[in-house]
């Protein structure tokens, strides 16, 4: 009997699977040979919000034991890593060599395999693109149990980037990192009064910064609606560091202060607490240019608090993240207005402008505005999100599969017009449909 209950970071929709720990490519091949009719999917650190790393009634490969960093080449920036290595571990290993992982999402607790499967992006997308852009080659074990080394000249490479683990199991990758002088950022923070100004401000000078993001308050109403912080940064050079940091400029300065206990009742995050949180977050950062911040302060403020997802209580939460073309920035406002009218609170709203996308048919980023909101699961959320889907899709937008947990197969078909192209490559690599997940069943990604 499938014996482990699995769910995503949003803590919704648990299902049971037979979890098989993997320590080598040979383990993957053996697990594929032993797989039953419900198929196989790989799972890393479980940071996808929904169900892409669950496989009800089938086999789930726990990839976190496949975690060796094989080599780091300081000159070329080339690193050879197993798929189960976390971005956190990789950064800790690479920083002493002056190497920086160019694509970092909102958490470092993501495996390299997961980062490829979801083709993750970070605040530097407008400059460096997404994770797949920095993969020189990857080793993929396909349904027949054989390993293939793929490069960007292969269609299967690009079907695997953003392919949500449905082409095979990535076991190893060669990544190319960037050179940096320090592990710190020189950050310009601007406190801005409302959403329109925030978006206008965010639309200029983008090219001057390696990293850009804004956070805004969608709880306060009226003239304060969408007041927020525009945060932009470049890597600090050695000269820019204050003297006390200069002694160890490549120190990995990433504290975690506390872990949230698993005791929260539902409804803890409501309009009142959302408002308090918004107020504090807004006030904590007045406009300040050129501040030196560590990676946690600038990129990963939520990593200070471990297991913060527990704050949403037993019914869990979802993240709603979409991208719409740059000229349809009005949809951002439209979505927030609808949420507000429906009484849904999102304390954490993150807005970013994407640069060019890559060749991967299922890669999420494309030039446009991307908004990400956190919403606790409560009654009425389903119909509201269905309405938001229409706004997004009608504007030519789409959803991010790594965060998706409730939309329809039709919405994915509309948002990803190259889905059939991806399926063709996928089906050729996995003709009998060995690779499957709760997400692929729910969204009919595979035939």
């Amino acid at each position: 009997m499938p014996n482990t209950s699995l769910r995503g970071w949003g803590r919704t929709a648990p299902t049971r699977a037979n979890v098989v720990p993997v320590r080598s490519a040979a383990d993957v091949t053996a697990a594929l040979a032993a797989a039953g009719p419900r198929g196989v999917i790989a799972r890393g650190l479980g940071r996808s919000y929904g169900d892409p790393a669950q496989n009800a009634g089938g086999t789930v490969l726990d990839m976190t034991g496949l975690d060796r960093i094989h080599s780091v080449d300081a000159d070329s920036g080339r690193v050879v890593v197993d798929a189960g290595v976390s971005l956190d571990a990789l950064m800790r290993a690479a920083l002493p060599f002056g190497l920086w992982l160019p694509v970092l999402p909102g958490t470092r607790q993501v495996t390299v395999g997961g980062a490829i499967g979801a083709d993750i992006h970070g605040k530097a997308h407008h400059v460096v693109g997404s994770f797949g852009n920095h993969v020189e080659s990857l080793d993929l074990v396909t349904a027949d149990g054989r390993a293939h080394t793929l490069t960007p000249s292969d269609d299967l490479f690009w079907a695997t980037v953003g392919g949500m683990g449905l082409t095979g199991v990535v076991v190893r990758a060669v990544l190319v990192l960037h050179h940096v002088e320090t592990a710190y950022f020189k950050v310009d923070t601007e406190q801005i009064d409302n959403l329109d100004e925030l978006m206008a401000r965010q639309s200029v000078d983008d090219e001057k910064y390696a990293e850009t993001v804004s956070w805004f308050d969608a709880v306060s109403t009226g003239a304060q609606f969408g007041r927020g912080l525009l945060m932009r940064a470049n890597h600090a050079t050695l000269d820019e560091l204050p003297p006390k940091l200069r002694a160890r400029p490549l120190r990995f300065d990433a504290p975690q202060l506390l872990t949230v206990p698993d005791v929260f009742p539902p409804g803890l995050l409501n309009r009142l607490t959302g408002k308090l949180f918004s107020e504090v977050w807004y006030r904590k950062s007045p406009t300040k240019l050129g501040a030196i911040q560590n990676i946690t302060q600038f990129l990963h403020p939520l990593d200070i608090v471990g297991e913060w997802n527990r704050g949403y209580g037993p019914r869990g939460f979802l993240q709603y993240q979409f991208v719409v073309p740059l000229e349809r920035g009005d949809v951002v406002r439209g979505v927030l207005d609808r949420m507000h009218a429906a009484g849904q609170v999102s304390a954490l709203n993150v807005l970013k402008r994407f640069g060019e996308g890559n060749r991967a048919p299922l890669s999420f980023p494309r030039p446009g505005w991307t908004l990400c909101v956190d919403i606790p699961v409560n009654d009425g959320l389903g119909p509201l999100c269905d309405e938001l889907d229409e706004l997004v899709l009608d504007a030519g937008g789409r959803h991010y599969l790594a965060k998706e947990s409730r939309t329809t197969p039709e919405a994915i078909r509309r948002g990803y017009p190259r889905l059939d192209e991806w399926r063709k490559v996928r089906d050729a690599a996995d003709p009998t449909g060995v690779f499957t997940s709760d997400m692929s069943r729910r969204l009919e990604l595979t035939s």
Binding site: M1, A13, A56, S405, R441
Partner: protein, 251 residues
Amino acid sequence: MIDAVGNPQSVLVMGGTSEIGLAVVEAFASDRPLRVVLAARKSDRLGAAQARLEKLGCAVETIEFDATAPETHSEVVRAAFAGGDIDVALVAFGLLGDNEVAWTDVDAAVELAQVNYTAAVSVGVALGKRMTEQGHGAIVAFSSVAGERARRSNFVYGSTKAGMDAFYSGLTEALRPAGVHVTVVRPGFVHTRMTEGLSPAPLSTTPEAVAAITVDAVRHRRELVWAPGPLRFVMSALRHVPRPLFRRLPV
């Protein structure tokens, strides 16, 4: 799959012409159209049920199901799962019968027992097996307050529901480790075809109201609900009333 906000994609109704069963499907489908499998004997009513759900955008399949033939039930359930995973299965068939006939006529009594208890058990076993294999899913069993304490006026029906209720309450525990949620719904007097012509009991309700409670229970993964909710307290009191007094109550 059941998604993050509790929407299923497919629902199986064992007893596919049941008014409560269809109301539950409609309540789920009001958020989003579903794939529906209706298992029932072929009849005009089944065709009408199919048409009613198709009008809501559901993709409906019907399969032949005879509650009095338990030896066929594994096969019926297998056929119901042939088109893909079943996210929610409703055990919604049952007979009320005429109590005065039922406790004096062997055939009538046995038919009630077979449909309401034996068939509910065989269907439950088959559903439990399938859902365990698929690693997820919810089973909803429609019991009755009549099973909570048998009354003189419908104790044959009540006794079958008592057995059925006990079986599914146990199945809730047995399937929990498999990640399969079983919800027992105990409605009171519901205005349906089954109760036509009977005088309604206090706290009587409608299929739509029972459906709303059921959908909410599935979304919250509740194990036991009453319809309407206050019946829980009424029955909890009635259960402990001494027999000489209970006999005199106008229930």
